[in-house]
């Protein structure tokens, strides 16, 4: 727990705040929950940095996958779930490919996003994606630019997905409804208006 120092100047208080990490700050079951959902072993991380070094997001942002793995190990649940960087993983799996400890850092991120969603911490664009999937079966629906490119490459304008077989969209909606994902997304988006 950060100890209050009671400076009269608010900014000074923030700058000179106690920055020790103390085990009491850790959540007891965060690591356990992350491991259960991700089915991987972040507690075996030796902080080598191979994941960040492999990550296409890292050189373009403040996102450091290695730090999220560390937060899992130490149970720093709030730090992890409230950090907007959590949503910068592209799920390319480069880190998972190379991690020498055979951890799947990508899945650690996925697990944390799950836990964040439970706390309704989720960026609006992700919720928009949910709505798109509900509507079209695609996070990024086909569009005219894409269609033209496909035709140029000698492919059909619509891929072998819901784009071509919209009959399957109700099935997808049923799945999303089952988990209440669409309603939740609508609800959070509405709140923020």
């Amino acid at each position: 727990m950060a100890k209050a120092k009671g400076y009269s100047d608010e900014t000074l208080s923030v700058r000179l705040a106690d920055r020790y990490y103390r085990p009491e700050e850790s959540s007891d079951d965060f690591l356990e929950n992350v491991e259960k959902i991700s089915m991987t072993i972040p507690h075996m991380c030796y902080q080598c940095g191979t994941c960040t070094g492999s990550c296409p997001s890292a050189p373009r942002s403040s996102y450091r996958i290695r730090k999220f793995v560390r937060r899992a190990v130490l149970g720093l649940e709030n730090d992890a779930l409230t950090d907007p960087d959590l949503w910068l993983c592209t799920t390319c799996y480069s880190c998972t490919d190379r991690c020498p400890r055979d951890i799947a850092p990508t899945d650690v991120i996925m697990a944390m996003r799950n836990l964040a969603f439970k706390r309704e911490i989720v960026p609006r664009n992700f919720l928009n994606t949910v709505q798109f999937i509900y509507k079209t079966g695609h996070g990024v629906p086909n569009n005219d630019v894409n269609r033209a490119a496909r035709v140029r490459l000698g492919l059909e304008a619509e891929p072998e997905t819901t784009a071509k077989y919209p009959d399957f969209i109700p099935g997808i909606q049923k799945i999303l409804d089952h988990y209440g994902l669409k309603d939740k997304a609508d609800e959070i988006l509405a709140e923020g208006q």
Partner: protein, 673 residues
């Protein structure tokens, strides 16, 4: 005492050890003690904090006399640890030591059932019942002494094998030193300098190599491999394959009646040979001929013909002339030697680091491995010690060293262990770059710097002071600029928390090490085990690091696990000392666990003979009929024949059928038979 004991009804003493809290912490000793009193044949039960201590042993010694015991059972740790201790105590008390039986209630019980006290206690009761059942039927046995051959063998002549052979030979033992390559020296002779003192590797190794050649007690056999191993401690019969070298030593020439002939190392042959091949000693970076030596300081200085590439043009034979040293029709020869003990020092090879594709070894010209670097920086190497980039021959200014390249890797592609000398030699390499290339900048990419040895941390300090840049991050990938052939090393500087992209002229991968391809073959020949990672298994990781589980076979150097030169030499001296003990004592006791033929039951079918893996059985004529006979010294007591004999005519001492059946009955029926 002994005879008296034999004629009596069994009287067994049971002793339960607490092992501090190791056993007592998870097993109810009182309950076990009470239970033991009810086991048939038990006449005395006692318990103690540490049975292996002097007072613990005294209890056994005194009780044997006082209670006239015929058998002793100690419920404690593994027999591998203290069976000898309690056998001695039994002997001191006047009982035949083979009337002692151990119940393992620690390694196989308390340590693995720490959280189930009742379950552990119940299991200990079973173990005790069974041990008492066996102890009730144990018999007096007498170990056999066999004389030990006054010779030893060392397999592998790297620095480890060289040191072991010198020590054995200097203690007065005739020693065969067997090396599969044409020269001795191993990996150390490929190195330029050695950490942390930076002495020249060849300069400190060559004197030892010369000593090997000159030592009156050493018979050096290069270009030779072990073909077959028979026998047992004290009396190994080892068959060696002397590979056809195509060239005669002066002694071999003389034996063929060519006086004053044989190879004198002049090298004329090499000059005329038309075949060019890469020299493995130079990591393929320099050529050699089909008739070759690896380098100028080889021991012995005798040329070798590579028959796989020789075109038999005979040019070498002609130029060699009257020395008549070259015989292109030479065939492999086999010799068998007898030795008392053997030391294996077969070394290591580099992990094929191209398997970690992200670092581009073998794809990018300027990514090399550390042994290639050693040859490049070595004054006697292919470039005369001038470090150059393979792509364009330019001098690299910015050189990266990638540590843990394939080590500490749990992906299944690399090796899970630490290769132990790569941190230190990479520091050395950084120093050498500074020394040889003015204005050069070495970068060391590391996770941890493991500088654990004497003067090693000080060496790390020195290299950092010289200006090497240390970047704490395991390299994620290397990318090559297709035009300049420069390399972009990409990792996270984990201390800054920032991804870094560093453009370098050359990158050296500190590749992991692994057991050589033939290690398994050698291991099987000598009947020893390996640990999960493939390195040869020592007798005990702490208390018997030079021995193996096969009596008379010892280990030295990296073949037992990665270690640097100081550790290799220390282990080699330890192995040599251990291997010399049975030889100096002159005889060894063999455990009397051999098979015996019950001649009345033996039908003389001879079917067991082929079953024995150690050729210990034969049919002999006795009283006009054929019966099986065991050569006790050859029998290892494995029990194969005993389990096989259809007539039940083979009696396994100390593991007899009645003893084993009694144990099973005790377990299943609670002691009734």
């Amino acid at each position: 005492m002994v005879d008296e004991a034999k004629s009596q009804k069994p009287r067994v003493g049971v002793y339960i050890c607490h092992c501090g809290t190791n056993i007592a912490g998870s097993i109810d000793i009182k309950e076990l003690e009470e239970f033991s009193k009810g086991i048939p044949n038990v006449v005395r039960v006692d318990e103690y904090q540490y049975m292996c201590s002097t007072p613990g042993q005294k209890k056994i010694e005194e009780d044997i006399k006082e209670y006239n015991l015929t058998g002793v059972v100690v419920a404690a740790c593994s027999p591998r640890l203290h069976e000898p201790t309690f056998r001695t105590a039994s002997k001191e008390g006047g009982l035949n030591p083979f009337r002692f039986e151990m119940a393992n209630i620690r390694e196989q019980n308390s340590w693995v059932h720490m959280h189930d006290r009742q379950g552990a206690t119940d299991k200990a009761k079973d173990a005790l019942k069974m041990a008492v059942a066996k102890a009730s039927l144990l018999e007096d046995l007498y170990p056999k002494s066999v004389p030990v051959e006054h010779t030893a063998m060392v397999v592998g002549a790297g620095v480890g094998g060289i040191q072991a052979a010198l020590d054995l030979a200097s203690s007065g033992i005739k020693t065969y030193l067997i090396e599969k390559s044409p020269t001795i020296g191993g990996r150390m002779s490929q190195l330029d300098k050695t950490f942390p003192t930076l002495d020249c590797s060849q300069c400190i190794l060559t004197p030892k190599m010369v000593d090997i050649d000159r030592h009156p007690n050493i018979e050096l056999m290069t270009y030779t491999e072990v073909e077959k191993v028979e026998g047992y401690i004290g009396n190994f019969d080892i068959t060696l394959r002397k590979k056809a070298r195509g060239v005669l030593t002066p002694a071999e020439a003389e034996a063929r009646g060519i006086v004053g002939g044989g190879c004198n190392g002049c090298g004329d042959c090499e000059g005329v040979c038309p075949v060019i091949k890469p020299n493995p000693f130079e990591m393929g970076m320099a050529p050699r001929k089909a008739i070759y030596i690896y380098h100028a300081q080889v021991v012995p200085l005798i040329y070798t013909v590579d028959f796989d590439s020789c075109v038999k043009c005979n040019l070498c034979v002609d130029i060699c002339g009257d020395k008549k040293a070259i015989d292109l029709e030479m065939q492999d020869e086999f010799v068998t030697v007898k030795v008392g003990t053997a030391v294996l020092a077969v070394g290591y090879e580099l992990f094929p680091v191209e398997k970690k594709t992200e670092w581009g070894y073998k794809r990018y010209d300027n990514v090399i491995n550390a042994l290639e670097f050693e040859r490049l920086i070595c004054a006697s190497g292919p470039t005369g010690g001038k470090v150059i980039r393979p792509s364009d021959g330019e001098t690299p200014k910015r050189v990266g060293f990638v540590l843990c390249a394939g080590s500490r890797d749990n992906t299944g592609i690399g090796k899970p262990y630490c290769s132990r000398f790569c941190c230190m030699y990479s520091l050395k390499h950084a120093h050498q770059i500074h020394e040889k290339i003015p204005g050069a900048q070495p970068y060391i990419f590391y996770m941890d710097i493991r500088s654990f040895g004497k003067m090693y941390e000080e060496f790390y300090y020195r290299i950092q002071d010289e200006g090497a840049k240390f970047i704490r991050g395991r390299v994620a990938k290397i990318e090559e600029d297709p035009i300049t052939k420069n390399l972009h090393v990409i990792t996270e500087d984990t201390l800054l928390g920032q991804p870094v992209d560093i453009e370098l002229d050359m990158v050296v991968l500190a590749s992991a090490v692994q057991p050589t391809a033939e290690t398994t073959h050698v291991r099987n020949l000598f009947g020893i085990s390996c640990s999960g990672d493939g390195w040869l298994l020592e007798g005990h990781p702490k208390l018997n690091p030079c021995g193996t589980t096969t009596a008379g076979v010892f280990l030295a150097g990296v073949c037992q696990g990665p270690k640097d030169i100081p550790d290799t030499v220390a282990q080699a001296e330890g192995a040599a000392a251990a291997a010399s003990i049975p030889i100096h004592v002159g005889e060894v006791e063999l455990e009397p666990y051999f098979a015996m033929c019950i001649e009345e039951k033996c039908a003389g079918c001879g079917m067991c003979i082929d079953q024995c893996p150690y050729s210990a059985l034969a049919l002999v004529e006795k009283d006009g009929r054929e019966v099986m006979q065991v050569t006790e010294a050859k029998c290892k007591g494995c029990g194969t024949c005993g389990g096989f004999c259809p007539g039940g005519a083979i009696w396994m001492q100390h593991f007899s059928t009645p003893q084993i059946v009694a144990q099973i009955d005790a377990f299943l029926l609670g002691g009734e038979q």
